[in-house]
């Protein structure tokens, strides 16, 4: 087998022909970035390339002096004979699948992605390719998502019930992406919406990019005293049981994450409700993409690598795991999901 276009190195996914890295873990000369989440976009590289809609968010996550080039979705740039283009991944604002083409051979590196509709970012684009390198965060058949509208109906009725019981609602979700998607689905007629500082910073980036979201206030602008009853507060998961969250003493608590699909994951966190809302592709979605992108070779990374590879092989695909430090382990799901 000839050397694949993409290989795994200790600094991250590497394209030798083009001499650049994709979502590197350590500083490199040239980094092509799928999206701005911290496990994919790290500081210290000399030069970054990302999609135009993702540029400002990426800048806010890196140090201010980083050199960031940006490319509109679908436009091609050629680098050392490798044609690079970005295509919407539907994960968060500016998130991309990265398409690489060399001598007519096409690779797509999905980054993180989802197929569900999300008004806060461009919808996933199906890109034809020969080799697909896909994430597998939720690569088991127990992870399947209900429709987004159904989940939002649940969230809003939970908020309403808390309000009617004279309680505040404390909803946890990742500060970049998940929180803005949540905002887009909340029904602002139920009550006021407050944001944790880190959520607000990211929300402002979204608003600056022209994404319409309901009006919100920073928690510190909230009522003096403890009149949070009826309000909903969006905060990152790390704020759960923190000194910060104590001000909402009697609040109902909930978490929005794909991990909430499994009862044990919710109970371990000691929150009242778990809403199964994920920005990652689910089991059925993985199969749809693998089928429709036309790839003859599939590489599986981060998540349930081993079972997914085995399943794809059983289905007759030329599937491989891309070795990562986390392979085969179910880690304690604390991260963005």
């Amino acid at each position: 087998m000839p050397t694949p276009l993409i290989t795994q190195t200790d600094r991250g996914l590497y394209c030798a022909a083009g001499d650049f890295f994709i979502d590197p873990w350590r500083p490199v000369q040239r980094a092509v970035i799928s999206h701005a989440h911290s496990d994919h976009a790290r500081i210290g590289s000399d030069r970054y390339l990302c999609s135009s809609p993702g540029r400002e968010i990426l800048r806010s996550r890196l140090d201010g002096t980083a050199t960031i080039d940006a490319l509109p979705y679908g436009e091609v740039i050629e680098h050392n004979g490798v044609r690079i283009s970005f295509h919407p991944a539907g994960h968060i604002l500016g998130s991309s699948q990265i398409r690489l083409e060399r001598h007519g051979e096409v690779w797509v590196i999905t980054g993180d992605y989802k197929l569900d509709r999300d008004p806060t970012c461009a919808h996933f684009e199906m890109v034809r390719c020969h080799s697909l390198l896909t994430e597998s965060t939720f690569g088991l058949p127990v992870y399947r998502w209900a429709s987004t509208s159904e989940i939002f109906a649940e969230i809003n009725s939970w908020w309403r019930a808390n309000r009617d019981a004279g309680k505040a609602s404390l909803l946890f979700g990742y500060a970049l992406g998940k929180a803005q998607r949540l905002l887009s689905g909340l029904d602002p007629t139920i009550g006021p919406i407050y944001l944790h500082g880190s959520v607000e910073r990211m929300t402002n980036e979204y608003r600056n990019a022209g994404i319409e979201l309901p009006p919100t206030q920073h928690v510190s602008a909230g009522p003096t005293g403890t009149r949070w009853a009826g309000a909903i507060i969006l905060a990152p998961p790390s704020a759960h049981n923190s000194p910060w969250s104590r001000r909402f003493s009697d609040a109902g608590t909930a978490m929005a994450s794909g991990w909430m699909r499994v009862r044990g994951a919710r109970r371990r966190r000691a929150i009242d409700r778990g809403f199964v809302l994920s920005d990652h592709v689910d089991w059925s979605g993985l199969h749809t993409v693998v089928k429709e992108c036309g790839a003859t070779q599939v590489w599986v990374t981060h998540g349930f690598v081993a079972p997914l590879v085995r399943r794809f092989q059983e289905m007759g695909l030329d599937a491989h795991g891309m070795t990562t430090a986390y392979e085969g382990e179910v880690d304690e799901p604390e991260g963005e999901a």
Binding site: P141, V142, R263, G264, D272, R311, E332
Partner: protein, 531 residues
Amino acid sequence: MKAFAELYARLDATTKTSQKVDALVDYFSTALPAEAAWAVYFLSGRRPRQAVPTRRLQTWAAELANIPDWLFEESRSVVGDLAESIALILPAPEKNLDWPLSEWVESVLLRLRDMTEEEQKAAVLAAWSVMDYRQAFVWNKLITGAFRVGVSQLLVTRALSRVSGVKAEVIVHRLMGDWQPSGEWFTQLIAVDASDADASRPYPFCLAHPLDVEPETLGDINNWQAEWKWDGIRSQLIRRTGQSYLWSRGEELVTERYPELKALGDQLPEGTVLDSEILPWKDGRVLPFGELQRRIGRKTIGKKLLDEVPVVLMAYDLIEWQGRDVREEPLVCRRTRLEELASAINAKNLVLSPLVHATSWSELAAQRAGSRDRNVEGLMLKRKDSAYRVGRVTGDWWKWKIGPLTLDAVLIYAQGGSGKRAGLFTDYTFGVWHEGKLVPIAKAYSGLTDVEIKQVDAFIRRNTLETFGPVRTVQPELVFELGFEGIQASSRHKSGVAVRFPRMLRWRTDKKADEADTLESVRKLLPGAAA
């Protein structure tokens, strides 16, 4: 069943007692009596025998979901719960019906056991095809006999009391004994005035709290009655309407399993209920609990076993006398009557719980120190003027147990937990040294903090030597102090000993694996071994 599934979800979503009771009250206020009856049945921990082998359910579900068995297994090990895994992989229902719980149980669940495999499959698939995720989850729990939700019978009775206005104690009593769930039964359960005349019905047991303060704080020792705390099966022997009934504390009618105690019951005067303990007993001494275990669970007992493990009834209290509920009378009066009864009957398998006499707490403490030699767990302290109360009431009855036996053992195998601990390695096997090797001595699941569980979990992941199915062999490094209640020789265990109620007391981060105990030192703890 939607309402019941919704109730389950609400109970599962909170750890607050008040919210659980609210959820129960909402449910019982609207449920049909027939449905509510089954809800009480399941919520109070009763369950019909497993209807379908889980292996079959798993195969059918994987077939429906169009996934191979190995992938189902992979998923199950991540989810940590079979019923939930099945519900999670089932295709969306064709239509979503809302049959009453009672209908599902009576028309389908209870009939499954007698069906052929094909009939079972058809029935289960038909059920799944009309259930949403929540219903399917609860249904799977019911048919696998694994239904469990975080409510005690106490909460259920509290809710029923709130719904009906009937006192909780009355409901607790009506819930005891042998009953078949039906609409009629439920109506009587919450009826303000029902004739409480079921002859077999036992009383709720009066339970003791562990004594966690110095006994001196209990005041004058003369106000207290001290007895040994025996390790057997707490029970009530009932004689009513010419019949004898023996109940275990697990609310199981066990009369047939202890023919010698049934015979004893037949000697009791009409209208008598004894609070007591079933004990394996030979030559005037109690045998280890493990001996009694040979009889537990057997419906019929052969002559050999009857000879080897004879049982007696250790009588603690007399709570019904001449057909009258005497629980409100002071303990001393009940005790006097009990003593009179025992001497009048004079049966060799009725043993009156001996009183432990002492004139001071320190003298009593000295007696307690001899518990291990007597094969008892310590002392029971009961206020002489106490009534026989319902459940665990603070202040009147205390158990003053002796400290557990302990040993230091090495973590050698680990397995994933379930439920709240799904995805974490929480079930451990420990070994002690014997001829240069570690032999398994005990399994333990409890005793660590959440933080420690995470640390041990991380250690296991980094230090796995081998994997056999769900079990991992771990680099033998971590040492834990295990506590247990008793130890006896056992030919069924590789180590030759069996320990009772093992749990982790602490993580000995100060000890290395080679500093753990040896099998030899453990054997010295066996009763009768030279200290």
